[in-house]
Subunit: 240 residues, 2 copies
DNA sequence: TGGTATTTGTCCGTATGTATC
DNA sequence: GGATACATACGGACAAATACC
């Protein structure tokens, strides 16, 4: 697995930062690093840009690159970065836990004006409308409401919905997912949330709205994932 | 205000995309754009990388750069991108609304072990501990709990806390804010949330945890901003 | 206050690698 | 396999912000 050069350098620098190998809380100059890693300054610059994006350092013109103090870690829940969390299975894999799925409803419907305004699909589009419950170690974690374009995710059925729709799309249909936009909001729990999620004494749920693009740039999935407030947090890094 | 080249190109391309001037839903090739804008392919590549980051397009090796279908807009609340929202005043300015602040409590305390685990300040650090209520057009919007290092934000007082602490830091103390990390969670409303925010029949609040860095890379502020669920949403873009 | 060295930011031109069709 | 188009990398140049004398 020959990694890309700037990515190797990025990893090395990150490791050095985490293990406190720069006691001055500054990275060496870019020209110095370029010599050390036997590459151009340009490449070093890209690696450091990555460290900037992820909040490890902050570069300042004329001064150098400052290493940022690390934060207290909060491990009592899933801390997602919306930009990089990938899929639910990926999360659970990371946390060494098992996820199971039960399909509560599976229908084929046509998008009307009202649904169009919510999902972004044009009115008249044929979609699969699926409701599922995702369990983590046998405890309810998410209530998913999915809408998939029928002309993209052709041949979807309950059995596939029970295992992994994404595996079906990529491995069987050989289609590629391009990108997604996610929005998080807090909402009053619906009846179904109360019925199926273990809300305890919460009367709210978190909702992740997921808009997903297939390789030609068309929207093919709209999903709402309702979750118990306790289970998730969302983190981001900002530069001034 | 002479903008930098790749940023100008980025803006132009974004405008073209939004106004649907590429009917094939593809950007022109990078070499073509380089000719059109009289610059190197390198610069075009950077501008397009920016469009990728913000979710307007997705570049695919060997194929080109796909324009992504736009999403339905949701305008009933503040839709924040955690990475770019800046400060509360900045939000309100954008929404053409007035923000006022009332200081509920102003103390000087020393960080103990327990508070250290929450804030990231070392035990023994002297901090200002401030509770404030932020109103938008005279309706309660946020309940802020701030901790500022005394040795960084020297000479803070109630009067400053009532106007703008950030103006004080930058304009009076001439210090620069480097970066911040933000985490969003949902929590059960505390008594003070119920007392001061207009929660209606919600029993939950959203909380933004804010860790802020000053120019030498040290953490100098920890803030919790409690908000009414209705008021906010958080959006992010993801690439595969 | 002003000038100079330092350091990152931006950009160019070119070359090579690699995925797609 | 060949053509196309984006991805990565190099080395050099100048701009702009900062620090220091």
């Amino acid at each position: 697995m020959p990694k890309i050069k700037f990515d190797q350098i990025y990893e090395t620098l990150k490791d050095n930062i985490i293990n406190n190998r720069y006691p001055e809380h500054m990275l060496p100059r870019e020209v110095e690093l370029a010599e050390e890693f036997h590459c151009s300054r340009n490449t070093i610059h890209r690696a450091i840009a990555q460290l900037n994006n992820e909040g490890y350092v902050q570069s300042i013109k004329g001064r150098g690159t400052v290493i940022l103090q690390s934060l207290p870690i909060q491990n009592d829940r899933f801390f997602l970065n919306l930009r990089s969390y990938g899929s639910i299975p990926a999360i659970t894999q990371y946390h060494k836990a098992d996820v199971t799925t039960s399909v509560m409803s599976f229908q084929e419907i046509t998008v009307d004006e009202k649904l169009s305004a919510v999902t972004g699909f044009d009115p008249g589009t044929e979609v699969y409308y699926i409701q599922r419950l995702r369990y983590l170690d046998n405890k309810p974690l998410l209530r998913d409401v999915n809408y998939f374009r029928k002309d993209v995710v052709t041949g979807l059925n309950v059995s596939i919905a029970q295992s992994s729709i994404y595996d079906y799309i990529t491995d069987t249909l050989h289609k590629k997912i391009l990108a997604a936009r996610r929005i998080v909001r807090i909402k009053k729990a619906e009846e179904k949330d109360k019925d199926y999620l273990s809300l305890g004494d919460y009367d709210c749920v978190g909702v992740i709205y997921n808009y997903v693009y297939i390789s030609d740039g068309t929207l093919f999935e709209y999903t709402e994932s309702h979750f118990v407030p306790d289970n998730f947090g969302f983190s981001e890094f900002v530069q001034y």
